[in-house]
Symmetry: C2
DNA sequence: CGCGGGTTTGATGATGCTCAAGCCCGGTGG
DNA sequence: CCACCGGGCTTGAGCATCATCAAACCCGCG
């Protein structure tokens, strides 16, 4: 049922079969169609989202009104707007499925209750959050040291399959360049 | 003794006076002179660092050999290289005091032992890490939507005192621009 | 078959970098 | 106390990278 999540948890902590029962009481299963939203700008982000299968992205509208993708998430990744969720204030972002996706949601208040019942999960979430922060630090480093063309090449060699999987304009925006310029770079780097 | 840390912890969780005793067994107090390092490139990052007073930065050497500052930390902030620390592998970064600073260090292995004795800290560190991740997401958003000049103006209005506190060339590098260009921007924005 | 969203192409131009030089100012030694 | 560093900040000219805009193209889908 939640096999990806359970095995993900067990990468980090000891987790009894009996705990799974308890955990599942707090989980809502979402079956999302491509382009469906779980968060829209102005709403308070309601949950932590874990992707069992599929793919999502987070984006906002910049001042020119175009979509600016700032994050993708794949199978076995958590995604949420931590700012909005933690402070329970309106979000600047949209979170959207970009493929048909099976996503597990744990509501903010349910999360607090769940942690009381399963305190060992506190550790799991600390570790997961630390890894996300490490990844974010690393991504920041790449942005500092690489040119746009190098960023694309680095991304392509790191996630070759993923480049196929998402539309060019989303990838361009995520990498911080225009679709036109990405097109040019791709021509040079077949 | 560790007043800033204790009150920081108590912003997030309930923490008994008796817990302070236990906590302090795992803490090493560092009195750093300006320009002193707690981490250098190639070393495995040894600890989580909490700043009681002073100021630190994290930087690396880019391909041209110049220092690229990617993070500052002030009083009551935690700083570490999560990638190096979590995976116990060599770091790409330097962490350096940029003022005389009082810093608390909790070694990686001590940290694990400490958590066993004080499991309530697991929650504290999860929440602190979530906040750091939220800040990182927000910073990423700014990098996407603002021009270099806007980034500087935003930073100056958000942290006016801080702009005074650090050398221009570090600030320039942190904001992702050259000292020359920062100088030009400052002339336009007195 | 035609529509429309996504991608490509090319011309033009702005943003922000590089390089070289000069300047300012605080620290050090004579 | 003064002279002389030397690191950091500033100035300006020239240039690379990358964005913008408009148009054409491509292709899947109704």
């Amino acid at each position: 049922m939640y096999s990806k999540l359970i095995s993900h948890i067990r990468n980090y902590i000891h987790f009894e079969d009996s705990d799974i029962e308890i955990l599942s009481q707090y989980i809502t299963l979402l079956d999302l169609k491509s382009k469906q939203f779980v968060l829209e700008e102005g709403q308070v982000c309601k949950a932590y989202y874990f992707i069992e299968t599929g793919c999502m992205r987070m984006f906002f509208h910049n001042d020119k009104g175009t979509e600016q993708t700032i994050q993708f998430a794949l199978e076995s990744w958590w995604m949420t707007d931590y700012m909005s969720l933690s402070n329970q204030k309106p979000s600047d972002y949209y979170i959207q499925a970009i493929e048909n996706s099976r996503v597990l949601a744990i509501g903010f208040h349910d999360f607090q209750k769940m942690i009381l019942e399963l305190p060992s999960l506190e550790r799991y979430f600390r570790l997961v959050t630390e890894r996300a922060l490490a990844a974010s630090q690393f991504r920041m480093k790449l942005l500092y040291e690489l040119s746009k063309e190098e960023i694309y090449k680095h991304f392509k060699t790191s996630f070759p399959e993923f480049v196929q999987r998402v539309p060019q304009y989303m990838l361009a925006s995520f990498l911080g360049l225009t679709p036109e310029y990405l097109s040019e770079i791709r021509k040079k780097n077949p």
